[in-house]
Symmetry: C2
Subunit: 294 residues, 2 copies
Amino acid sequence: MNERDALRALAADLPHAGDDAAVVDDTVITTDMLHERTDFPPGTTRYTAGWRAVGASLSDVAAMGATATAAVAVYADAAFDDDRLDRFIAGAVDVCEAVDAEYVGGDLDTHDEFTAASTAVGDATDAGVVTRSGARPGDALCVTGEWGRSAAALRLFHSDSDEAVERANDLFRFTPRVADGVALAGSATAMMDSSDGLARSLHQLAEASEVGFELDRDRVPVHPAVDEVAEADERFELAAHFGEDFELVCAVPEAAVERAREACPGGLTRVGRVVDGGVTADGDPLPDRGYTHG
Amino acid sequence: MNERDALRALAADLPHAGDDAAVVDDTVITTDMLHERTDFPPGTTRYTAGWRAVGASLSDVAAMGATATAAVAVYADAAFDDDRLDRFIAGAVDVCEAVDAEYVGGDLDTHDEFTAASTAVGDATDAGVVTRSGARPGDALCVTGEWGRSAAALRLFHSDSDEAVERANDLFRFTPRVADGVALAGSATAMMDSSDGLARSLHQLAEASEVGFELDRDRVPVHPAVDEVAEADERFELAAHFGEDFELVCAVPEAAVERAREACPGGLTRVGRVVDGGVTADGDPLPDRGYTHG
């Protein structure tokens, strides 16, 4: 059984397991594990790792349209270096501050490979949580922010220049779209974050909502860093299939798009529409291909 | 820096980090990571592992005197075997049910070594949370349950008999003392769970509360399984220094002990008293020695 099948099996057993976070009463809770080999390329600072590990969980809270209240993390490493641990915590604290949440500590564990397990909790707004399953044909397909940021960072991490690696770290420290998620809570009919990439997210939303999507390739907002590291013909590939951008993908009724756009501090772009079935980009089938979390 | 020093450094930076769980408004949150090499001896079933991983976090919620509401876990393994994952989830679901909490899912991750990261959340009662820092000289020192259970299980895991291993699994599946913690919330002046063993817990409580403890060795309730696997002269060692029993250790004002005992479903035993300083057992210094989480 691969990870996606296993997650599907999980979803069949548990309430809410198909969404980005679980919901108990009005509390939203989500947990993730990241580790060195697959999630933190060489050159990733512990500050960036702390930011990103906790940020990934805050992004899941955002995807539910909930406010983020607190996060915890387990820091596991072969040895506990004072400075590296401090930097990890500083990153965790700062990403929480960026979304008005509180980093409240965690646990340490000895582990051969540097591993971070993070959990975030949040509160549903009065509008209730947004799941993946409510998109309706005719809704606009919208995304927050700019895409390809993490793909660009990964190429920069592989560079020999210290400056490029520093820039890669900057790009890796995304702002979790909590404020945007809350702004969308009253209007989005379905929402998720894009940890597996735009293409794969669309397939997942389509399956959960039993709808399809028509994506307009040229409307996908591409992060300027992509043009620094990639040829023009790679732009869409990096923006749509790489993943790990932690932006929001959502369906919004046409009449609500304009107001939602004004309310989203991270920007909201209409990139297509919800249809009865099939996931296409400019009329061609969009492959369900993206980042598979290792 | 070893793990205890690193935890001390964490505690200096973060609110509540010295307690078993963090507190945000009235929500209690705690996270742990367990892994195969140090936490799950050969013979531990995935059902027991799921129970124990999530149970450890629920025990931390209990130690704050809070009700447990929900738990999540990350299941990381080299491969996702359908049956093993199902059993892990069943254990997680069942330990949550045992304390009236809800297991709400989690995440999967690929990892060479089987690793489980669990997080539990809870709500403070109207009596507020109980920390490690309020014990006063003159209070009674009390513990829940029976001790040495996990030490006995570990010896049974090393046996060649299937029956012994099955019994070890039973012993490993402790009941988190959530109901007891809630019952003690109105009266205990300081409390923690015993994941590092009774002796080490007393030293930690003593430091946090700036007091000492006099332990009466013969009053420590020893689990009957200890006598099955150990000589009489090892009883105290296994009950007080091994750890991983996930019982509660607390200070309770004398006048409240009797009522607290009646309210604790897991049993409450007076095992000594809070004094001005020093940690002793029958008058001799009790070494700060126990299980160090690896």
